[in-house]
């Protein structure tokens, strides 16, 4: 069955074919992406969340870090739509500003992991030999350490967790997966003629990697970067929840939910911890749908499913 569909896909006179002929693989992928309804809707949902968080000062003029000891664990009121938390901070304001932090942490952790992963993956996959061996053994060792245990132990050693430090710890502990994926996609590329010809006409290693390897591996890179961002938003919230993430007074969705570890708040103030949870759920869901759409878009075989 599979083989049959395979053939029909490649031999079928597709009405888009003439159009796709002049497009780059990236453009073809983007064109295919727009046909995935869930993914396109998710792009808009994610954009909406980002815009709402950026425009936080428009929706509320309460400082999210300001504590008020007279207003502790209050239910919703006109001034505080989602009530206040255990320090008397306004939950609604923290929800909007917290979204900023959660998104920024997720994005920058993804970005730095991408930089490390692409760099090491490129070195290992392009040069091979000794460099490859060293990098791959390092990834083996990193992968065998339980991620959470490693991060928590590091967090226990450092004194105060800041956003920059948090992002660095995440990026420095989670590059191995991406490194492996990038190296893997380079290995098959390395044997191809166009790489040989590029080397023959004297292109520098940097140029070959930047111009030939990375663009050809862009599919797995983009897909994994997207899914990584979703994972990091969850990781940030989970670590903040257990008290090892971004500390008070900075608002994040994770440390807002951690208020619910207090059984009183869990029971009496669902409006305090359910909205940030839904914020994470919707954001991560949207990113995962986008990632899935990208995967299908970049994978030529995905049409059969």
């Amino acid at each position: 069955m599979t083989t049959k569909t395979d053939e029909t896909i490649y031999n079928q006179p597709d009405k888009n074919n003439s159009m796709e002929k002049n497009k780059s693989p990236f453009q073809i992928a983007m064109h295919r992406f727009t046909r995935n309804k869930m993914a396109v809707i998710s792009v808009f949902v994610l954009l909406a969340i980002i815009i709402i968080c950026i425009l936080a000062p428009v929706f509320t003029d309460i400082n999210p870090e300001e504590t008020n000891l007279l207003l502790i664990e209050k239910g919703p009121s006109e001034e505080h739509i989602l009530g206040t938390n255990g320090l008397g901070q306004d939950n609604f304001s923290r929800l909007l500003y917290g979204g900023r932090i959660s998104l920024i942490v997720g994005f920058s952790a993804m970005f730095f992991t991408l930089v490390i992963g692409v760099l090491l993956g490129s070195l290992a996959g392009y040069y091979g030999g000794k460099i490859d061996n060293i990098i791959m053994r390092a990834t083996d060792i990193m992968l065998m350490l339980p991620f959470l245990v490693l991060v928590l132990t590091i967090m226990a050693i450092v004194d105060k967790v800041t956003i920059g430090l948090f992002v660095s710890i995440i990026a420095l502990t989670s590059w191995p997966n991406l490194t492996r994926i990038i190296r893997g996609s380079y290995l098959s590329l390395r044997e191809q003629e166009f790489i040989l010809s590029a080397q023959a006409i004297g292109a520098s290693d940097f140029r070959i990697i930047a111009k030939h390897f990375i663009p050809n591996a862009i599919g797995p890179i983009v897909v994994n970067a997207t899914l990584m961002m979703a994972t990091y938003i969850i990781i940030e919230s989970a670590l903040s929840f257990i008290g090892f993430g971004i500390p008070q007074p900075t608002p994040t969705w994770g440390n807002m939910i951690s208020e619910a570890q207090n059984i009183r708040i869990l029971r009496n103030n669902p409006e305090a911890w359910i909205p940030p949870g839904l914020g994470i759920l919707i954001t991560v869901l949207a990113i995962n749908f986008i990632g899935d759409g990208l995967r299908d878009a970049f994978d030529p075989r995905s049409n059969q499913r």
Binding site: A156, I234, Q261
Partner: protein, 322 residues
């Protein structure tokens, strides 16, 4: 195959060594005397007394000597004494918690398998059916919801609002025995179990679906059907046997994810397992306990990966590693 297994076991040893060095190194970086079970400097005590104490405990020895002393004790199950729990031995503390985490992990794995595999098979046999779309949607949901948030929702709705399940602990009355104790335990484990199992269920379901789809599309299934084999036999004799191989391998590799999830889930439900012990030890800077748990979890992950690789090489003779 045997050559591969032997080589794989040999790789295991240096990795185990690297793990111990990293755990030891992290503890060395930590402030305070991590390896002795003694607390940080008390300003009321003469620093000279501390110096004598450090000398007596061997903390002034060269680092490799200290490492060797720690590792040779650890191999014998002696991880020193806790700094916090009145100096009780770490092994004793962990022993009390380990079984709870094991039960929770096995229970959630059981739920995962019972739910994910049948649904995955159904989805693959009826792709694009209503249930398949439902399952795909559930898969996205399970992978996107933070498990602590799911756990809190479960406590709020199923425990507080409806009162169906207890929200905390492992047993309501300590004196229970026999079946009563067993069911009481299960009742307590239900919410943490589904919370911990949710992400796994979503993952296995997706894998199962794509594996079964792959196998059903292969030539030998067409041959089996062509020679008139019943659909039942096609499914059980050919499809499942082949589709389950990657799933079982996945279990070996997913053990780390399961253990990390257990740390968070136990915290949500205040379940007295290794995870809650680990978190409280990290908070209290009780390094002997932190090191011991980090070692145990690391070793479990290594063994899981090792077993997965060995299993794979045994059941799938096509695999050749050279």
């Amino acid at each position: 195959m045997y050559k591969y297994i032997i080589r794989r076991v040999l790789v295991f040893i240096p990795m185990l060594f690297a793990l111990t060095v990293i755990v030891f190194g992290l503890a060395l970086l930590a402030p305070g005397d991590a390896l002795t079970g003694q607390s940080l400097a008390d300003p009321n005590v003469d620093p000279e007394v501390y110096e004598q104490q450090r000398e007596a405990l061997g903390l002034n020895d060269p680092i490799p000597v200290q490492y060797f002393r720690w590792i040779s004790a650890a191999v014998q199950g002696d991880f020193g004494n806790s700094m916090v729990f009145n100096g009780r031995s770490v092994a004793e503390l962990i022993e009390a918690r380990f079984a709870n985490t094991l039960y929770l992990g096995l229970f959630s794995l059981a739920i995962t398998i019972i739910v994910a595999i049948p649904i995955g098979i159904y989805s693959a046999r009826h792709p694009y059916s209503l249930l398949d779309y439902g399952a795909t949607g559930f898969g996205f949901f399970g992978l996107s919801i933070p498990n602590f948030f799911f756990g809190l929702m479960a406590i709020y709705f199923l425990s507080i609002k409806l009162g169906w399940f207890p929200a905390q602990g492992t047993m309501s009355t300590p004196g229970l025995t026999g079946w009563e104790a067993f069911f009481n335990r299960l009742h307590h484990m239900f919410l943490p179990g589904i919370t911990l199992g949710l992400a796994g269920t979503a993952t296995y379901m997706r894998y199962m679906r794509s594996e079964v789809l792959d196998v059903l599309g292969s030539d030998y299934i067409r041959t089996a059907r062509a020679k008139g084999m019943s659909e039942r036999n096609v499914l059980y004799k050919h499809t499942l046997r082949n589709a389950l191989i990657p799933i079982i391998t996945l279990m070996g590799f997913e053990i780390g994810v399961l253990l990390s999830g257990a740390v968070i889930t136990e915290q949500v439900f205040q379940y007295p397992g290794l995870g809650t012990l680990f978190l409280s030890s990290v908070t209290n800077r009780d390094y002997p306990v932190v090191m011991a748990i980090a070692m145990i979890l690391g070793v479990l992950i290594l063994i899981g990966n090792l077993l997965a690789d060995i299993f794979y090489s045994i059941v799938d003779p096509r695999i050749r590693y050279d």
